[in-house]
Symmetry: C3
Subunit: 263 residues, 3 copies
């Protein structure tokens, strides 16, 4: 009766009816499903941004939520589609690393590749596997169908081109992994990576040609226009500008290295 929750993350935008169509497909299979949009504004084909947003959001949902993530530059190629189960959640999407950040924290206990057309729509297009394969599978999972029904056990090959955070010789090295709509530069360094003894004042952050001393508590902690570092709501070290855009002020973008020196 409760129907279960399915979250949906895509790079489809909301001008076209693609997302609505996938919801119709899922309601046809499970009429009591609860459908929650995470975002449909992932930059087109930016699997990394999708992976970051998924990792930031998945854990706030109820147990057994199905997380459906469709950022799929490989549609039409031989890439596989997968469904996975961790202790608390289910995941459905392409095998391109979109869940790899999540799985650092939420280890999958079972992964299958979506091979069994019994759980797909009858007519499969070559361009819209979200509608034809992934949405139906997500809806069947929300109804309690076991993962083994959808296909063979599978070891994902998709990986994000992300450098791990390196901590050595009193330095923490990461990179910019996400830029939000305010121009805040989110780094791969998490609050847990910074020793408690150094937090918040005994650090110097270097990014591009900029040097930031100490970590601020909130966006409003410095005078307008100042470049600051803070722990954003995702739990990652962010570079921000009080009342402005750090992306604009610095000209920095995705992948830029960042270094935190511990004093």
């Amino acid at each position: 009766m409760d129907g279960g929750v399915v979250t949906i993350l895509t790079d489809f935008g909301v001008d076209d009816p693609y997302v609505g169509i996938m919801k119709g497909v899922m309601l046809n299979i499970n009429p009591t499903i609860r459908l929650i949009d995470l975002t449909h504004h992932i930059p087109p084909q930016n699997v990394r941004a999708g992976a970051f947003i998924m990792a930031a959001a998945y854990s706030f949902f109820p147990e057994k939520t199905v997380h459906l993530a469709i950022v799929d530059p490989g549609v039409g190629t031989e890439r596989r589609l997968i469904a996975a189960r961790s202790k608390k959640y289910f995941f459905v999407g392409p095998d391109n690393g979109i869940f790899s950040l999540v799985w650092n924290h939420e280890k999958p206990e079972e992964i299958v590749s979506l091979d069994n057309p019994e759980y797909w729509l009858e007519n499969i297009s070559s361009t819209f596997h979200g509608r034809d394969i992934m949405a139906p599978v997500a809806a069947y999972i929300s109804k309690g169908v076991e993962l083994s029904k959808f296909g063979e056990s599978y070891t994902p090959v998709g990986k994000l081109p992300w450098s791990p955070v390196i901590i050595e010789h009193g330095k923490i090295r990461g990179e910019i992994i996400y830029i939000d709509r305010f121009g805040n530069l989110v780094t791969s360094i998490r609050v847990q990576d910074i020793p408690e003894d150094n937090f918040p004042d005994k650090v110097v952050i270097r990014i591009g040609k900029w040097i930031i001393r100490g970590i601020s508590r909130t966006y409003g902690d410095a005078s307008p226009g100042s470049l600051i570092a803070l722990i954003g709501s995702y739990g990652y070290l962010e570079i921000a500008v009080t009342g402005g855009s750090a992306q604009e002020k610095t000209g920095l973008s995705w992948d830029e290295p960042v270094e935190v020196s511990l004093l």
Copy 2:
């Protein structure tokens, strides 16, 4: 108890609370209704785009879904509002042709004009009949109220200014009927219009000054920047550019004729 599904398609955008207000109105009438946004980003007053999106999406929803479509340049004039019932679905909107494409496939069995103010909000504005008349009627339909309660039987007069696809002398003639956010040019020619013997290679497509030989299987089938033809996820022949925008590359727009020669 299940409450039924109402889909909502408008040109309202999502900056203003118009869509949310219509949802409040419907929840007031039927608290167990399931409300699904198809899109609210139809170009303002573009009834044709609304008709195309509705036709592309309606059939993916469960039986008895109510499809509410509000693209209504005639608000404040004498145009009628209508509710219709086909074998599987219900439709509510202005009588301006917005359902005419759907009805090529899903013949309406009953159409009424919305004359009976008993099923409207108490105070009717002259500018927001979506809130005052159409949303309430859609909600009452989802509760099982019969169409005859809303008004007299009615023959729609609204028609889209669309040329039918013409197939003769080894040529199929259509036009561009929709442009999606990637700049793909969707034509009125459907995959069924192309003889199986000619699909996919034995065709030449002419549009503007461009000539395209054969139909590709996916967007990635040609080198970046190439103009290609393919069958899009809507089931229509589309003109696309691999990794780019066909609208930008060709400068073509809505209404442009397209011709498919069968070899």
Copy 3:
């Protein structure tokens, strides 16, 4: 079982997953809740626009709906968060005046400040109180938890910098309080403020250097490009341009005074 309705109004946009995360938080607390987006496109930190939209929309929702409004430029400062109960509705948001327009019509019977961390998420960030405090409280209210559980009785201090409409000496004076996406200039003067004897013809409206005689019935009542006044769907006097943008045509913006002379 019915779960209740929570509406959500923010300035978060929909690129980032903030809204989806808040929905996950609420579903965790009340799995049968119905979540309705009012809009997430309030101009950043524009509490006035949020207040106007909330006032325009709240009354269309079912009794006991919880209205959650998060436009919160004061996050990270000492501003309070509040929950309120009127005869028909509940309200949750920052104490910055965002509900002050609503409360002109829907007097609150109880207001508390959100002091009791038992009803918050376990880890409170300094930047995202929507997720950590306000969303959980809204979800608990939808489950029937009494306001007194969340904190002490409280008298709000947040006020909008809005001049009341002044009616004297045959003139009504207001100002522009909202601009919609079509460039319509919504004034603070409501239809009730204009004497029936003068409506619609016996008025002259002055705004900036423009003079408009009489109030039109619909947007289409004048020739394209004309500046007109009409009562918009919100019930307020609006300045509009037939087939165009009044904001563009006049160059006027938020706060501009408007005067209606009664003839």
